[in-house]
Amino acid sequence: MKPLDWAVMFAWLVFLVSYGLWRGRGSGSTQEFMLANKTMPWYAMGLSIMATQASAITFISTTAQAYVDGMRFVQFYFGLPLAMVILCATAVPIFHRAKVYTAYEYLEYRFDAKTRLLVTIVFLISRGLQAGLALSAPAIVLSVILGWPFRVTILIMGGLVVLYTTLGGIKAVTWADVQQMGMIMLALVLAFAVAIKMLPKDVSFFDALKLAGAAGKLNAVTTTFDWNDRYNIWSGLIGGMFLALAYFGTDQSQVQRYLTGKSIGQSRLGLILTAVAKVPMQFFILFIGAMVFVAFLFVRPPLVFQPVAMERVQASPQYAALERRYEQAFDQRQAAARAIMASAPGALQNFREAQTNLDAARADALHLSDTNDTNYIFMSFVTRYLPIGVVGLVVGVIFTAAMSAISGEINSLATVTVIDIYKRHLKKHSSDSHYLAASRVATVFWGIYAMVFASTATGFGALIEAVNQVGSLFYGGMLGVFVLAFFVKRCTSTGAFIGVLAGEAAIFATAQFTDAFLWYNVVGCLVTVAVGSLVSVSYRGSSAAFSEPCR
């Protein structure tokens, strides 16, 4: 990065943190710190929900996913609008009318303290793991791009998040997200424009589409059903809907956003905005990855995208031979691409052969450097081809995208810790200022936890992926217990409690047979509801074991 890029990046960071602090000023009560005094307009909630979800991992990996695997990942989001409609009609009015701070608080109203505690613990475990991941995964990539030590990157990122989240609470988080979302869209449009501008003059936009299609990158919809295929229209619509229902309906990091709404209507509109904007936005991000692939048909990309790994390959004795193979395959692929544009016979076959040769050369180089460079494809494109100044802006936006996701997570973790554990079980009757102070301490605690977890996760590349999947193991049971609470009027507290345990057991059993994790949510939810209902019918126990929750 050039000095202007550094200046732009730091200016953006300083602006975002200052803006968050300014908007979050005066958070002098728990109601303000956790729920922004219920003053948030619909567009701020909607944009904040999208910004929290569009973490740096999404930004870096989604484009790379299209580059490598095509656009089929967009189907993952097909169930989201349906889930939003269901939540608007059910969870939003129920939570608003119950006047709760957390989703789990409602479970005590409906069932009992032990069910609330069980789901609270499940949330703290799964979201705690993901907060560490949300910090470590982008920090690994950014530390290489920026040339900073990994732990310094984590410290800067995590430190800034803790600063504005501790001082400004949910207001700071939400308003910083609004700015962040606007800048994400600007950065994406700029990256797209540069990818198109990189195309030679004789290659039109339609040619680019034709080439991306020929390479299998525009596979947005797959209608074939396969249990083991993670992304097809069925897993997206059904599994994706259950996942979105669980994420937006039971995960406090999202529920807290729409609890800040001025009214039920404002919260509903915030979710509707997400429902309408999310799928096209993800399509656009993936489309950028496909266009970067086309641009690299005519501009030779590096043999290895990860700069440090590339240095290792260059130092090896096999480098010269590998580079020659790669060069040859690139030229062959470019010639085949031009033949495809001219609709020449056999062009597609030649293209595939060239792509196979090119992939083989890259695979050998990656084997030499013992690395996987998929997450560096987009960053390599940004730092090499975007204009000076814009590079700093895009890298800064990715930096703050990571911060945005983490801030929402530690804010929700702190809220649940204080409301569902500390205030409910440890110190029931104290002043509001005491709980506000406890919330700030909890925010600092979870911030430090995320930083420590992230900094020790460096040596566990495969484990990071494994832990990410572990996160998806918990949602089905959580969704199931809320379905029981909302829709099964005769469900008892004992039924709900046993139902959650059975749902989680079913998810872990399913995970032994398939890694298509979208289905875990369906299985977990259905088993929780079925077992919870059955137990309630056969054992009508202590649904009245209610003691008024301490607020």
Binding site: C88, R110, A215, V221, T223, R268
Partner: protein, 50 residues
């Protein structure tokens, strides 16, 4: 059941009159978006004649 009963004002959506109509619009919109993506996939599929 021990749900607290609080009165929280609900209001109609800014357009279409009722929330139900707005939800139907979102579902129809999703169907159109998926239909468009399906056409896009088919139109540029590798098996299409080149």
């Amino acid at each position: 059941m021990n749900e607290p009963q609080h009165t929280v004002a609900d209001e109609p959506p800014p357009f279409l009159g009722t929330w139900k109509r707005l939800y139907i619009l979102v579902v129809v919109y999703l169907a159109c978006v998926i239909g468009l993506f399906y056409w896009f996939t088919k139109a540029f599929a590798p098996s299409s004649p080149i």
